[in-house]
Amino acid sequence: MEYNFRRRIRNLSAGWITVYILMILLVCFTSLPLIYMVSTAFKPFNELFLYPPKFFVQNPTSKNIRDLFSSMDSSVVPFSRYLFNSLFSTVSTILGTVFVASTGAYALTKLNIKGKNLIFTLIIAALMFSPQVTQIPNYMVVNSLGMINQFSSLIIPKIATAYSIFLMKQYMEQIPDTILEASRIDGAGEWRIFGSIIMPMVKPAWATLVVLTTVATWNDYFTPLIFIQRQSMKTLPLALQSLAGTAGSFTRSGVTAAAIFLTTLPVIMLYLSMQSRVIKTMAFSGIKS
């Protein structure tokens, strides 16, 4: 007891206070752009032009957000349409990714198919590969399948990713084969085993996959930029950016900030509700690689 107490005193020595101050500073710098974005989104017009600029908003206003919505009202396509596009493509991509990655990882780890080492090598190679190189042929494939300006162009090309199957595989390898053998002897089919034994056991992995896929799809600006030309098919980030005008331009910076604020809000909410699980899984799969 006394030992504990002494240790607590020692923890509060000058060294530790420095560490805390340092950490808090670093935390400030990490969240700086975010705080600034939120603050700018609520700045009235005259505060955007202040010199020197103020970090925090003095008289918060919702004018930027209202401007954003009114410039949407004046466009042919209503806001709800963009929201629907984003929601629909994100949810479909999540469902598709989790399904395809889980079944694929199950086959790779528990069903011993021939050539699984080759497939695994391909996955590792694809992890390293930069998507910019294949951007153009990718466009050609999507084009020849007639998916340009369709929801399918936002969903299908993103389902079979290397990262997702890698993550699921890392987790499924941990499940002992004996459990599966036991249920096979009891006459359960592979789908039954997959659905009622495997998936509940790797819940942290696919929960993480849900978050990561949501982040990647919801924020994605480039896939819709390349595949979607029709205004009514644009997703939220693309639509908001084009309505807000170029970033960095002085006059529209409040509206831009409002646009970014509205787009990122749902993702941050989702993360905050699932954060500890996500961090654990990410660290785990990284270590195992």
Binding site: M23, L26, P33, Q132, T134, P137, T264, Y271
Partner: protein, 289 residues
Amino acid sequence: MKKVSAKFSLEKRKAIAGWGFISPWIIGFALFLAYPFIKSISMSFSKITDISTLDSVFVGFNNFLYAFTVDINFLPMFLKTVTSTLIWTPVIVIFSLFIAVLINGKIRGKAIFKSIFFLPVLLGNGFVLKQLLDMGITGTNGIITIPESFYQITGSLVGDIILNFIGQLTVILWKSCIQIVLFLAALQSVPEPLYESARVDAASEWVIFWKITLPMISPIVLLNCIYTLIDFFRDISNPIVGYIIQNGVKSLNYSYGAAMGWIYFLFIFVVVITVFAGMRKLIFYGGEK
């Protein structure tokens, strides 16, 4: 005898089910990763003669030569990306290790620090970060307001250097979130008895870090170096990546875009392999080895 044949049929059934399970992933992978990959190789060696039908003729290394000898934009952008990557990668790895060590110490509120440092991952593909940075962290319309007296004390040159560093600090922090998580997991997996026995032998914390912690987490140091390199090269805010996209997609110069993409990818590949080979001797692998 009967037993063997029964087992064989079970194995066979498993294999058939296995192919069924993995086929969605294989199809997606073939269509949107493998085929574009092969197609881009053939494109980089050809020239498109008719843009509507995409007829092309084989031109050998012409596209590659063009990038190095004729195009005045390519080489400077390429070198700029390479130098900034090679400078920033070690900075980010060391910095993230430093933060991970701080969090891993006997500090309160670990969970909060962890989730704040992880927050930037949510903003995904770098586009949002680019937008935020375009709005300016420092500079004339920057978000950190420095009182006039600051410049009077430091002089304008020193003041600018400090401001520049502060501006970069946020970028560094935003780029090191995954690395911090991976380092943290690695630090936590170092066996406690190693530390105990070192402390019994009266080793200082400084020595313990260099002689125990660093060798034990060296595989993750390598992983993080490679991750940072790839992350930097793939970043869409890189001028060269933007140039490739602009050439390939917007000005319909498909084959030249593909060629530049390949030069870039091969370079990344060489760098990663070099780092891998160079660091292999320094890595300590625990276990039976």
